[in-house]
Symmetry: C2
Subunit: 431 residues, 2 copies
């Protein structure tokens, strides 16, 4: 790869910058190959923490009677996965810190690491039973939230549409799976106590709806293999049993009339579902990796090809100075016609020009395709902002704010992101 700075005494060449443009793409693909490893480690660590959270919950809920060993064992497993994550982070450290647009990503990593720093203390509180199951869940969930947010920021730095799309699929899948984990916990609490009060069943409804939205976005950006794995989950008979239990949870079970044995069954079903979702994550990761490798090989080949081509043009071109043809890429008025009479020169001029034009079209096309992935991320941000705004303004909970937003959308017959946007813009006018 030839990216030596042009010596200041000689004119920089168009060909060199075309090569630099291609090299730049290559560097970026290399960066995302490594980023894929980091995302994989985060996916694993999140899964480990979700399992540890589940076991801690049972442990605390049973006043330390159940899952003592399981919890300790799962905590050990989380530590191992944390090490992997930290190693992947160290490996990509240089690229990350050299990447000029990753301030937000780096800061989000700081958030996640800071959350991880509290894990030891959290566990001590759990073991000593100095913390409620609810509070422990909150803390684990917050930590998981910070880890998933790292993937979100990574997706936001992608410029290749396929890569950005797969990261968008991944982050929504991870979010959906996490909401599924929360649903497992809330459902367990309700079934164990034999009843779902109004607050609990509302929360169940919210977690389900939020999951659906995440999986919808996932489905529209996922690769075919991961999508068909997801459809298998949907078609599995387990799903119908979960539906039946969700129905129990959400309707008329206020009088402690549920068999507490259902709790174990619910936990088992949801755990299977979560494990199946983890496999979909694995599939997205695999696809992501292969796609990066493929794109990298393509880009490398194309670079080598162009280097050869440009070198030959340079050699031949030097005897026919100057290259010429002022062509045009759609600007006002110019027609792109050559005005030189040198056929050889025209040949060269057109070749370099066509290479540059081809790269322009390709980059433009990539950018167009990138937009839908960026929009999905932007919509998510907008929605979170609208929810925060409602929470602050009306002093309501996160769940209630989500519900209110959905109600507004339904009442006005508009889409959720649209309502969220209007809300934010109106808040700016009204404040």
């Amino acid at each position: 790869m030839n990216t030596k700075p042009a010596a200041s005494h000689q004119s920089p060449k168009a060909g060199d910058y075309l090569i630099a443009s291609k090299t730049c793409e290559l560097l970026n693909l290399q960066y995302f190959l490594q980023m894929g490893k980091l995302v994989q480690c985060i996916s694993n660590l999140v899964h480990g923490l979700q399992r540890e959270r589940g076991a801690s919950n049972v442990f605390l809920g049973s006043s330390g009677q159940k899952f003592r060993e399981e919890r300790a064992c799962l905590a050990g497993e989380s530590d191992r996965l944390r090490k992997d994550f930290e190693l992947a982070l160290a490996e990509i450290h240089e690229e990350l810190t050299g990447h000029p647009v990753s301030s937000r990503l780096l800061n989000q990593i700081a958030s996640a690491l800071h959350s991880l720093d509290g894990l030891g203390e959290l566990r001590r509180c759990v073991v000593a039973q100095k913390i409620t199951a609810e509070s422990a869940t909150e803390n684990y969930s917050s930590l998981i939230h910070h880890l998933i947010a790292v993937v979100f920021e990574a997706a936001d730095t992608a410029v290749d549409p396929t890569i950005a799309g797969l990261l968008v699929a991944m982050v929504h899948l991870m979010n959906g799976k996490e909401l599924c984990g929360q649903e497992r916990a809330v459902g367990s609490a309700g079934f164990s106590s034999g009843a779902f009060d109004r607050a609990l069943s509302r929360r169940m409804t919210h977690l389900l709806e939020a999951q659906e939205r995440c999986f919808d976005v996932f489905a529209s950006f996922a690769d075919v293999d991961s999508l068909s794995l997801w459809q298998e989950i949907r078609a599995h008979e387990r799903e119908r049993e979960i539906e039946r239990m969700r129905h129990l949870a959400s309707s008329g079970s206020r009088n402690k009339d549920l068999d507490p044995e259902l709790a174990d069954h619910w936990f088992k079903l949801m755990t299977e579902r979560i494990d199946a979702l983890k496999q979909v994550e694995g599939s997205v990761e695999g696809w992501f990796h292969n796609r990066c490798v493929e794109r990298f090989a393509d880009a490398k080949q194309s670079l080598a090809h162009q280097e050869t081509l440009i070198a030959s043009l340079d050699t031949e071109g030097s005897s026919h100075q100057p290259l010429l043809v002022l062509c045009d890429s759609g600007s006002e008025g110019a027609t792109g016609k050559a005005f030189s009479n040198s056929d050889v020169g025209r040949q060269f001029g057109r070749s370099i020009f066509e290479l540059v034009q081809e790269q322009t079209r390709r980059l433009q096309h990539m950018n167009d395709e990138l937009q839908s992935a960026k929009e999905a991320l932007e919509e998510r941000k907008t929605q979170e902002k609208a929810v925060l705004l409602l929470m602050e303004h009306r002093r309501i909970s996160n769940d209630e704010a989500h519900r209110l937003l959905r109600k507004l959308a339904m009442d006005q017959g508009r889409k959720l992101p649209e309502v969220a946007r209007s809300l934010i813009s109106m808040a700016e006018v009204l404040k």
Copy 2:
């Protein structure tokens, strides 16, 4: 600046990544300080080429009788400015090629350099009078278009909202000034010949309207100083005289009844206007430079401050391992309350946490502000795309496509970017 990769045997620290996030901002500001120099050189080179184009036009129009020496002298000046541009390019070369998201920018530079390669041949054709004035203008305009597009792509890589906004102002100012230059040329042709036919006066109208749109966007992103310079131009009595002559050009002067002496007067007035616009560009550049220096100094100070703070936290914190407090940044459910009893630990935890949160808020705020600048660039791209689409689809000229787009907007009572967007989305459905 401490960005050494964390050694793999020890855990990466939240503080290190917070520092890395700040360092990343600093690097980015440094990059845009250099980019400012490149933009300044492009502004100068474009101005030089516009003057050279004007002189070449007169030279060709007078069959080589007028401006022979002026043209040669201005070509020499352009060459000097081209050297400056190439030097600035060499200076920023390393940062440019190391920047992983600048493929489009690098490719646009390749386009511009390729166009510059044709300049010698173009001039030879002009001197030998082997090219029409119209065709020479087209070729100069295409070259200028490619140079301005470099600034457009540079603006698109900015992440700091002030910097992005000023670059958006700059690129629209440069575009407006270029359209003003084209208006000068078209007007000169009409006045010299004593009449404006339908095509010529339509083109005048188009160039005027397109200018207005550019200057509107410029005005909404410009700094106060540049804006007031622009308002001075608007308020200048020259402006009323230009208006009067534009009116002559656009209405009922089909019968060669215009005094050809008006041509010189028009050229003089428009040249003054263009020179005044160049001064506004200088003001934007100055403001841009100062803003970069200011933001850089701020960021450096903030980084030093946080390094000291984090170092002190590390030292004290090490005797109170582990840091703790699982806090929350607005995720579901978590409440951000500390659950440790260690006051000292809580103190530290909260401090690091607050620093990270502060950085999160700041970056979020910057990103929100950045949106309007990005939208302005996006709208421009969308519009150009809609125009190209209409040109291809209906086989009409650039001017006609612009006019059709404006007519659609007016007929439907919608805004131009909105109509452009609908057009593109409908084209995808209908093709």
